[in-house]
């Protein structure tokens, strides 16, 4: 199952221009809300029409502006899982599945596979979120979809239920060998569910990586923010040092070849130090915020009015070291360097 997408569409605030291909893997489109990721899915499914480009699924042309091909959603065999599951309210679980099933034998199979036995005659409004999700999956697979598109499948849920559904979906994915695209604005969800992550920003794919690669080394500002990095500073290189202008700190690091525009540092990777040294700086504690399992300490370079840096520290450690001024070590290999 190979999907090639290369489309352009003029939206109100920006131009959607995406170009990627996926084959037998789960791709996450990660981006802030309104960046065009859902629109991309809708174009693939045929619910929206791009202005130009091609969409090709397994050598079948779904859309081609040059050849004037634009298959109806009915003929694309693209399974779309909506955020609210969009079950047909006037039909029972059994009817929801059998109404769209290509052959009726698959209905019973999918009811069994998704553990819906006993619920066949229930209406959607009597089902829990997890049950609705399973019906929606059973329905998509009975309709013989060749690819799965998941549009923010958990975003409307509270965190406990979200986790339950995510576990269920991971189980479904385990038995699913095909291609799937997951749209999400939650970095954790994207990381846990997918193989590759495409970061979208204002209609463009800024980076397209294997997921571990992305979280270790997000190359752009938007990607870094999406991976959850809270500390960002404008930066430049001067005399073989990385000068973080906003923080008024200069880091030493050996592999400086590229031009950089920003640096980032994850709050968790900052370490407490007893002594001064290389990449260790005396910081002034400005604010201490107690979080559920850690302390968030807002610090800045001593004797400056620099931008605050967030340091996340284990509660035990903070209780043993707390002071108005403190030495902090920034491991150089953990500095995120961004070219744009």
């Amino acid at each position: 199952m190979k999907l090639i997408v290369n489309i352009k569409k003029i939206l109100r605030d920006f131009i959607l221009n995406v170009n990627f291909s996926v084959e037998d893997e789960v791709l996450a489109l990660l981006g802030a809300s309104g960046c065009g990721k859902s629109m991309t899915l809708k174009c693939i499914a045929g619910i929206q029409t791009p202005d130009e480009g091609q969409i090709i699924l397994n050598d079948k042309i779904l859309f081609d502006s040059d050849k004037k091909i634009n298959l109806k959603p009915q003929n694309r065999r693209v399974g779309y899982l909506f955020q609210n599951y969009a079950l047909f309210p006037n039909m029972t679980v059994f009817e929801n599945i059998s109404f769209v099933a290509v052959n009726q034998k698959s209905v019973a199979e999918n009811i069994k596979r998704f553990q819906l036995d006993g619920l066949e005659n229930s209406y959607p409004n009597k089902l829990s979120g997890g049950q609705q999700q399973r019906v929606a999956f059973a329905r998509i697979l009975s309709s013989n979809a060749e690819i799965l598109l998941l549009d923010e499948p958990f975003s409307a849920l509270d965190s406990y239920l979200k986790w339950q559904l995510e576990l269920e979906m991971k189980n479904i994915f385990k038995n699913y060998a095909g291609t799937a695209i997951l749209v999400s604005h939650d970095r954790g969800e994207a990381f846990r569910m997918s193989d590759k992550v495409a970061v979208m920003n204002r209609g463009l794919i800024e980076s397209f990586n294997e997921k571990h690669e992305l979280f270790q080394n997000p190359k752009t500002l938007a990607a870094t923010l999406l991976t959850g990095c809270k500390n960002i500073s404008a930066a430049h290189i001067e005399n073989d040092l990385i000068v973080a202008d906003d923080w008024k700190i200069s880091f030493k690091r050996s592999d400086l070849t590229k031009k950089i525009k920003f640096v980032g540092f994850r709050a968790k990777f900052i370490q407490y130090s007893q002594f001064e040294g290389e990449n260790i700086f005396l910081m002034e504690v400005v604010e201490v915020i107690e979080d559920t399992f850690s302390f968030l300490i807002m610090v800045r370079r001593k004797n400056t009015n620099a931008k605050l840096i967030r340091w996340e520290v284990d509660k035990k450690i903070w209780h043993s070291v707390k002071a108005p001024e403190i030495y902090l070590y920034f491991p150089p290999e953990k500095i995120i360097l961004m070219e744009k």
Binding site: P73, Y80, F82, N90, V100, Y123, N125, I140, S143, N144
Partner: protein, 217 residues
């Protein structure tokens, strides 16, 4: 008491509601799915609801009268619509149709778009989506449209008296009968018809409000 106004009124309201039902749903479906020009289409279809019925009746006379193209054409078959029972139906349809259209359109628009999109991506044809998903899931809205347009047709006066006249036994409905009775100073008769109209409309709305069909799924 001559019962013909009662029978004519009921016959007219039933027939016009059947016609209105199909046209109203059809127009609602078309307008909801228009890519552009909603505003204009909606305004034209809604117009008969806000115009004075006499204006509607006057235009009906112009369109179907003996001097019009349609009137001339019908005259070739020795037929004229003006002052016939069919004219009461046409008047009732034109005046009550916007109510059917508007309520149905509102119901269509309230249905979660994703349900329709989901059906499309699952391979369900537009025809099946319309009959098996759209209509069943909007039936309480459609029912409300039927109630409104039926009761509106029951009481239609202005367009009817202009276009169909007030001929006892032919085009005289309950509401035009009230008018005639008052002009003839027969207040007792007018009162009877008025009570009849009020009761019919009220009973009809109550039946629908309390029927199980009106329960949302």
């Amino acid at each position: 008491m001559e019962l013909s106004p009662l029978l004519i009124t009921l016959k007219t309201a039933v027939v016009s509601t059947i016609i209105t039902f199909f046209i109203g749903i059809f127009l609602a479906y078309v307008v909801v799915n228009l890519k552009r020009g909603h505003g204009l289409a909606d305004a034209i279809i809604t117009l008969p609801m806000v115009l004075p019925p006499t204006v509607v009746g006057f235009f009906l006379l112009l369109v179907f009268g003996k001097r019009s193209l349609i009137g001339q054409f019908l005259l070739q078959f020795d037929f004229s619509l003006v002052f016939t029972w069919q004219a009461t139906v046409i008047s009732a349809v034109i005046v009550s149709m916007p109510l059917m259209y508007r309520t149905t359109r509102g119901a269509f628009e309230q249905l979660d778009k994703n349900i329709i999109y989901a059906a499309r991506t699952l391979g369900v044809s537009e025809w099946k989506i319309f009959w098996k998903i759209l209509i069943p899931n909007t039936r309480s809205g459609i029912l409300a449209g039927i109630v409104l347009s039926f009761t509106r047709a029951l009481g239609e006066f202005g367009a009817t008296i202009m276009f169909a006249g007030n001929i006892p036994g032919v085009t005289q409905t309950m509401s035009t009968a009230i008018y005639s009775a008052v002009q003839a100073n027969d207040y007792a008769l007018a009162f009877n018809w008025a009570i009849a109209l009020v009761s019919f409309s009220l009973i009809f709305i109550l039946i629908v409000n309390y029927s199980k069909f009106n329960k949302a799924v």
